[in-house]
Subunit: 510 residues, 2 copies
């Protein structure tokens, strides 16, 4: 393909994307395909000779689009939002056009420096503590990681290595493997599965402490666990708090956790993958309480900042703790300016060596929207969730299971879990809206997250109508069955109504 | 920004990229900026109000482009190639347009299934053993990881967990930390730094065994190390062999390593990040020797397959070994079809939870080029390197330090290392071509890698003329100094000639 053809293909693709996103409400949010659909449609071998871009683009329409779950649809309410925006799409394309690998400053100064700039912009926008800024004197700063999972893993591994070094120095009688065998970390049982996975990967147990009735982890629970472990000879390494848990968007009590962490010299990381966006709002300033005491923090730009995945911001109070833990450079591999300036070589701040030019899409998106545009976007999510909450509260058949938090409403049909489960199955079968379920203390509930690139009040009304209508239908069926003396027999009920109620789609909340 | 503006911005950006890549030879491959250049050019805060796309695009030209190291330039000869192609750029944009997160099948069936398809296409194209195909009965298959670093880390961590499980079962008297403290892994001292880093992250020492005179790691060296370690009570876990080492593109002897690994029940991983592309060529079939005996394998598509970073193919003989090691799903988070079909949930095959729709750019690129186009691209790199090799051999002032391998030629100016070092410094100061240096057994040498999106014979002539001319000038200066009785005093020499010879740019080979 030459440049001339690329201009044609690229512009056709721009129109394809614009058409797709403009008309995204036309599609059912969930696709109507069975596992293996695409394997049957595509050839078993790569074509030997070139095919034309027109054929390929038409195949994307024909075979790919029907297999897409439309995350940018405003009828997507599963997991948490994964946003994109038009400027971010262009930014991603321009970064591919340059196709540089920014593992050190010399590999493209603009890549490293733009990341320094946008991470400082973002830290100020979110009103984070000054020591997280590159521009502030000291070893702190921000870096773009691929995902929240990676940011958490970086914190866990760096904290682990710091403790091993420290204990080796203070207890020379202990072997390294003795020390490693005593390490322990903490998080809440409401935290994302990536935190448990980080423990597996780090070969260090992360204890998932029971959150309170209100699903919040507090210092008292952490203190009790640490005291017990220290008494048993274990060595506490890190606590991962969450601001905006996966299930209900609960906020751990960072301040009281920090008090315990400071006392026991434990690294405090905050996973604010979702809720971090609200730091920018004055009306949410309470969320930032205690952040000046944390060692590291991560926030996903695709959740609230309209920058497409992957793009996970991470700030470190002392980046040297990561660099010292991860740096394996041979001495002859350093570049002319390395260590001589304040410009970081970000490869030492992350797991992989290679890194994409992700700062470009961030920069383009922030400039296109401006701070006021970004704040308006977060507020829109909150307002739309409030609208949904009003619907729930006004319908006596439903109940909230947790306070609405930012753009998330957790609710259920009153009564037995089975009603909520069946309601979700119906909704999934109809594919008009997508939610996932979660469970807490035996109560099954549905998570309604405001998602999509550009959700509107009418989309919330659409979702509520769909939910209400389906509950009405479900209850009518049950009443009918009760009337004919078969109430409670779900299997017969579904057969009678010709419904295909399968096991449902109970996906992992991200 | 609305769809209308996006159509304008997107199409202007397509033209921007096409113009950039068509005229890439006009730029010095290395930028002429000093550290901090961009920090001084950009505002300290995010703009409060939106800016126009025209201003932003013009800024990319004004402030970003001057800070780019032009990896797609055919005058780039550093590290290894990082390719892009026009169809891959479009694929990346389309994937951003969908902006889905493919962590499970239901999250977008097309994302998972297209990855299954293209990984099988690629495995067949590269003539890999059948058990690496998804389509073959059994637990093997391919997955797209972000980078070679991640692929290696996945192999290292999975092998580690497998061994811990196995030894705990066979030696119940040992504690888990006892076992972990005895684990050990192996690679060559020529392997990429990401392998040493994987050992640090995994908290498991990876011994970098001395490669032979020919820079190849063979079974005998591995056997000797393992025997010694087993005698000392250690537990060997994994050996990472390299096909195409970072320094000289040497090929470890997979067959003899496999014999030792089989005997000691050690996982054998092959890092073929660069050389893997040559598996496709009949004339390079020797490279595939022993691959039927390895447990896992990685290959970077951005190195030879014209798919832009990030895109690292990884194949597993038994993916269950990774899934079993990494799976932390709560039981209620599984989806309707999970485990019921042959379609994998790739989140269990990797470190992070989230995953981009990378298969799309792979599919579009493969179809646009066809198998014949991909093979032609690899052959072109080889032919161009041969052309360069001829130049080196024909100039008595230079010598090869290793046999040319694929698209890499390792050479040096005869005599003292200082001549080669000064030559590279000159070249870096002039910024016309970019090479990095390496060292082996005290000999400094230059790595000339064929790179860029579309290198041509004239680009090789350009590079050789630049190298030859600069060596001539350097030697002339030295002769002049010798004539005036000051030979050997480099400082005075450079002052006399007004040259700014700095410490040079001796970057990490990727």
């Amino acid at each position: 393909m030459d440049a001339k053809e690329f201009r044609e293909f690229g512009k056709a693709a721009v129109d394809f994307v614009a058409d797709y996103l403009e008309n995204i409400r036309d599609y059912d949010v969930l696709p109507s395909v069975d596992p293996g659909y695409l394997l049957q449609l595509l050839p078993k071998d790569m074509p030997e000779t070139p095919e034309t871009w027109r054929d390929i683009l038409s195949d994307i329409d024909r075979v790919i689009k029907p297999g897409i779950t439309h995350w940018q649809s405003p009828h997507m309410h599963g997991y948490y939002p994964t946003s994109v925006s038009y400027p971010s799409i262009v930014g991603e394309m321009l970064a591919s056009g340059f196709s540089i690998i920014g593992f050190s400053w010399i590999c493209s100064p603009a890549c490293t420096e733009l990341e320094v700039v946008v991470m400082d912009w973002l830290a100020k926008f979110l009103k984070l503590p000054e020591h997280f800024l590159h521009a502030t004197e000291g070893p702190g700063g921000g870096v773009i990681q691929g995902s929240a999972s990676e940011a958490v893993l970086v914190a866990v591994l760096a904290a682990r290595e710091q403790v091993v070094c420290r204990v080796r120095a203070s207890h020379p009688e202990l072997s390294e493997s003795d020390i490693r065998g005593k390490l322990v970390a903490y998080s809440s049982d409401q935290s994302n599965s990536c935190i448990e996975k980080a423990g597996v990967l780090a070969a260090m147990p992360i204890k998932l402490l029971p959150a309170g009735e209100d699903l919040i982890l507090r210092g008292a629970a952490l203190r009790s666990a640490i005291e017990q472990d220290v008494t048993a000879g274990l060595i506490p390494v890190i606590c991962i708090a969450t601001l905006g848990t996966t299930g209900t968007c609960a906020y751990d009590d960072v301040d009281s956790l920090a008090t315990v962490c400071e006392q026991y010299n434990v690294w405090l990381h905050v996973d604010a993958a979702y809720a971090g966006g609200a730091f920018a709002l004055d009306e949410c300033s309470e969320l930032r309480r205690g952040l000046e005491r944390v060692d590291s923090l991560n926030f996903n730009l695709h959740k609230f900042m309209l920058v497409n995945f992957d793009c996970s911001a991470m700030w470190l109070r002392d980046a040297n703790k990561v660099v010292d833990s991860f740096n394996v450079d041979r001495i002859y591999l350093k570049h002319k300016y390395e260590g001589q300036t304040q410009i970081p070589d970000f490869r030492h701040w992350q797991i992989p060596l290679g890194r994409r030019f992700r700062a470009l899409k961030v920069w383009i998106t922030f400039r296109t929207l401006g701070a006021e545009g970004l704040r308006a976007h977060v507020r829109k999510h909150i307002e739309l969730a409030k609208k949904f909450e009003v619907f729930v509260l006004a319908d006596a058949r439903f109940e909230l299971v947790a306070p609405r938090a930012l753009g998330l409403v957790c609710f259920r049909a009153k009564g037995e879990n089975e009603i909520t489960a069946q309601l979700l199955q119906r909704l999934m079968e109809r594919k008009k809206i997508y939610m996932v379920k979660a469970e807490h203390r035996g109560q099954l509930f549905l998570r309604f997250a405001v998602c999509g690139m550009d959700p509107k009040p009418s989309d919330i009304e659409f979702a509520w109508t769909e939910i209400g209508t389906q509950l009405t239908a479900l209850l009518a069926e049950q009443e009918h069955l009760a009337a004919v003396g078969k109430a409670g027999d779900v299997t017969e009920l579904t057969q009678q109504f010709g419904l295909q109620l399968t096991n449902g789609t109970n996906e992992k909340s991200q």
